[in-house]
């Protein structure tokens, strides 16, 4: 029977005529773990997993009609399972209830990885002839692990700096938080941050760190900028700016939205005195009054007073504070002559890190990011009127893994095909 040695997949290594298991490790064939590994080497399992992966990618693509890219990535690909709504398969004009469970990207990826590793463990025989294949498959393992590392440990945020000023935190725009700030200390602000996932659950939020209890009356995942209410519009707010402005719900930004402006959530929150439950007012908090206004050098906190202490409350992008401060000295925005078409952006920044005793001045431009302390700073945008810069700060411990993987796969293929070519040329010369 013909053998197929040239193969990027372990499944093609398996042939009915190759009793690798029996011959390689006869002493272990009755062990349960070994049985499981043997089962994992199944060609049919590989094919099934690939088909499941194709279906998952297809469904994840369809789901972006209704949901944002990062929501889909999290639900479909960086999960062990997903409930896929039937609605995604039919036009939205026809309402179809119900959903079905499906393995998520990490479950499928983990099974593929196990399938690949099991094939090598069960049938491991190191020979020079097979070393190219081994290297190639090791490259695939690195590639799969790189997605796991990225999904688990990578973080990216936006560092916004107005020209002439500094910043020491990044904002994670796909995560929101309700921040309650106590500004009474002359030296520091005390911040308590409630993650969006908790806000979406609704109900009453009670916590030792909070100066009051919070009852979520309503949470809008996306909203228009608060506006004056029209006639006959009910307004739950009894205090703050929400008394004169109401939040208007808006469908979440989807992966197919051409504007990709991001969601601006809003919430109606009733604040209550701890213990007694005495009402401190129902407030509207909107990320338009924090994330959006910040781009214009302003903000609009809602002031909640309890026991003679006033707290500023914001619904905003989650902040991550850094041990360094970045000052924007100059932002340059070039256009192609005679047009408004962007040509290039660059930011001349000064980075001061008091912990690492680092101080340097760097120019960050579109294709020349700054790499510092495991983070990469990309020039990603600018503030309206070129008032300042927006840098994307990415920390990904696995950023090198795809490069290493590609090199390993390429090296493995070159070595393997090189051996075959060599054998072929020798035979030909002999003939």
């Amino acid at each position: 029977m013909m053998r197929m040695d040239v193969s990027p997949s372990p499944v093609l290594e398996v042939t009915a005529s190759e009793p690798a298991l029996e011959t390689s490790h006869p002493a272990r064939k009755s062990s349960t773990l070994w049985d499981a590994l043997a089962g994992l080497t199944s060609l049919r399992l590989t094919v099934v997993l690939f088909v499941l992966a194709f279906i998952l990618v297809f469904c994840g693509t369809l789901a972006q009609v209704d949901a944002g890219i990062w929501t889909v990535v999290k639900q479909y690909f960086r999960s062990s399972y997903v409930w896929i709504p039937l609605q995604i398969f039919v036009p939205r004009s026809i309402r179809v209830p119900g959903s079905f469970p499906f393995p998520g990207g990490w479950l499928i990826g983990a099974c593929l990885l196990a399938n690949l590793l099991a094939a090598h463990i069960v049938r491991f025989r190191f020979t020079w002839k097979r070393s190219g294949i081994l290297l190639l498959h090791a490259g695939l393992v690195v590639m799969m692990l790189s997605e796991l590392v990225t999904g688990l440990f990578a973080a990216e945020g936006i560092l916004t700096i107005v020209q002439g000023s500094s910043s020491n935190f990044v904002e994670l725009h796909d995560l929101k938080e309700l921040a309650i700030i106590d500004p009474s200390d002359p030296d520091v602000d005390h911040v308590v941050a409630i993650p969006e996932s908790r806000l979406k659950q609704g109900g009453i939020i009670q916590h030792d760190l909070l100066p009051f209890d919070i009852k979520l009356v309503r949470y809008l995942v996306n909203s228009d900028m608060p506006r004056q209410p029209g006639a006959n519009v009910s307004n739950p707010a009894t205090a703050g700016d929400g008394r004169t402005l109401v939040a208007v719900p808006r469908a979440p930004v989807t992966g197919t939205d051409p504007e990709q402006s991001g969601d601006f959530p809003a919430a109606y929150a009733a604040f209550k005195k701890k213990g007694s439950g005495e009402s401190l007012g129902t407030y509207l908090v909107s990320s338009w009054w924090s994330d959006y206004l910040q781009m214009h050098g302003q903000d609009r906190p809602q002031q909640v007073t309890v026991e003679d202490k006033t707290y500023s409350v914001y619904l905003r992008a989650k902040r991550v504070y850094k041990p360094y401060t970045v000052t924007l000295k100059k932002f340059r925005h070039m256009h192609y002559p005679g047009t408004d078409i962007d040509k290039s952006f660059s930011s001349q920044v000064r980075l001061v890190d008091s912990i690492r005793h680092e101080e340097r001045e760097i120019e960050i431009s579109m294709n020349e990011p700054l790499r510092y302390a495991g983070e990469t700073f990309y020039q990603s945008g600018f503030l309206p009127g070129d008032l300042g810069t927006r840098l994307q700060v990415v920390r990904n411990p696995g950023w090198l893994m795809p490069y290493v993987s590609c090199l390993m796969v390429a090296g493995g293929m070159i070595f393997h095909f090189g051996l075959h070519l060599n054998t072929f040329l020798r035979r030909r010369a002999a003939q």
């Binding site: 499981a36 000023s165 602000d189 900028m225 302003q298 504070y321």
Partner: protein
């Protein structure tokens, strides 16, 4: 031979890895942020303590604005020079020099532009400041509106007519009654706010006064938008109308030169058209949205008329798109419900817009 697969055992072995996907750190957290850091807003030096000295002088058919705004310490160093300059002002009935003053020693006068009559600044100083002189024709001397606009620029609350005597000083300058203010608040350093927010735009009397070649424009409009009759003044480029029963909405496209007034001036003109009070630049920025026109993010305002205007309340959506030396104003105004219905069509229309060089 390979034994029958035992997937369950294998998946059990793998489960810790797979379940990592479900682990999220979603706790309520607490931390402290030093106040000296750029933390509260992310824009630390944005909110610098500023002082503003300003004078509003109505004279004949003109209103003159003298304004000096800078960080508090810088203004204090030059306050005396500002007061002396005000007292040196003389008006003349001459078109080429309607006003004169004595520039303080060591200061230089820079040429003005379409928006500004002159700019004065000290040449060598440790406390740099900029004094602007602006001239507005006609009746722009609404003291309360201007005082509140200035207060808004320094994040100060507005005042009422009754409060004016307590926050302003009235002085006589060359026979004219002038209003002088001295405010301290928080604002942006180097702000380029228009000196006359609230004033109608300086729209050209001709659509193309500078001889600039207006770019051509292409767009795709919905079928139910019917063209309006041609604009006799020639200012409006094109207009459409949608009518449903007794409700109607008009869409207009007007290109003007890039000098056609600040955004706040135009927004206040539109607010006036639907019975809303004027807003300051800061208030405007708070309400400003953005949308895409020809692939670029452009300012977008969505205004609904005052409730007192019921039942003839109007809603107005306008987008300002700058292309080269031209500013294109896209406006939809009419019955609020019909505007709401047409909003997505309007945005689709805006996305379809394409500009190109060449007379349209």
């Amino acid at each position: 031979m390979i034994r029958k697969p035992r997937f369950a055992v294998a998946l059990f072995v793998l489960s810790p890895v797979v379940l990592l996907g479900g682990c999220q750190k979603d706790d309520i957290e607490s931390y402290t942020v030093p106040k000296s850091h750029p933390s509260n807003l992310g824009l630390p030096t944005e909110r610098t303590k500023l002082r503003m000295l300003a004078a509003l002088i109505p004279q004949g058919q003109h209103t003159w604005f003298f304004k000096l705004q800078a960080p508090e310490g810088n203004v204090a160093a030059h306050q005396q020079e500002f007061d002396q300059l005000l007292q040196s002002i003389r008006f003349a009935d001459r078109a080429d020099g309607p006003i004169t003053w004595t520039t303080p020693p060591g200061w230089r006068r820079e040429a003005g532009n379409q928006m500004r009559y002159a700019t004065l600044r000290p040449e060598v100083t440790e406390h740099p400041v900029e004094l602007t002189v602006t001239d507005l024709p006609g009746d722009a001397a609404n003291v309360l509106a201007n005082v509140n606009r200035w207060r808004g620029q320094l994040s100060l609350p507005p005042v009422t007519e009754a409060d004016l005597p307590t926050v302003t000083k009235v002085v006589t300058i060359d026979g004219c009654t002038a209003t002088v203010v001295d405010f301290t608040g928080y604002g942006k350093v180097g702000s380029t706010m228009a000196p006359f927010a609230g004033h109608p735009p300086v729209a050209p009397s001709q659509p193309n006064p500078s001889g600039l070649v207006r770019p051509s424009i292409q767009y795709t409009k919905p079928e139910n938008w019917l063209p309006l009759p041609e604009d006799a003044s020639g200012i409006r480029f094109v207009g459409f109308q949608i009518t449903e029963g007794d409700r109607s909405v008009q869409i207009t496209i007007t290109p003007l030169s890039a000098q056609s007034g600040s955004l706040v001036a135009n927004v206040n003109r539109w607010r006036g058209q639907i019975g809303l009070p004027e807003v300051s630049e800061m208030q405007l920025q708070r309400d400003l949205q953005e949308t895409a026109v020809a692939g670029k993010r452009c300012p977008y305002v969505d205004l609904i008329g005052a409730e007192s205007a019921m039942p003839n309340r109007l809603r107005l959506i306008a987008v300002v798109a700058r292309y080269g030396e031209w500013i294109w104003y896209f406006k939809m105004m009419g019955d609020p419900e019909l505007v709401e219905q047409q909003q997505s069509s309007f945005k689709t229309f805006l996305r379809s817009v394409r500009f190109a060089e060449g007379e349209s």
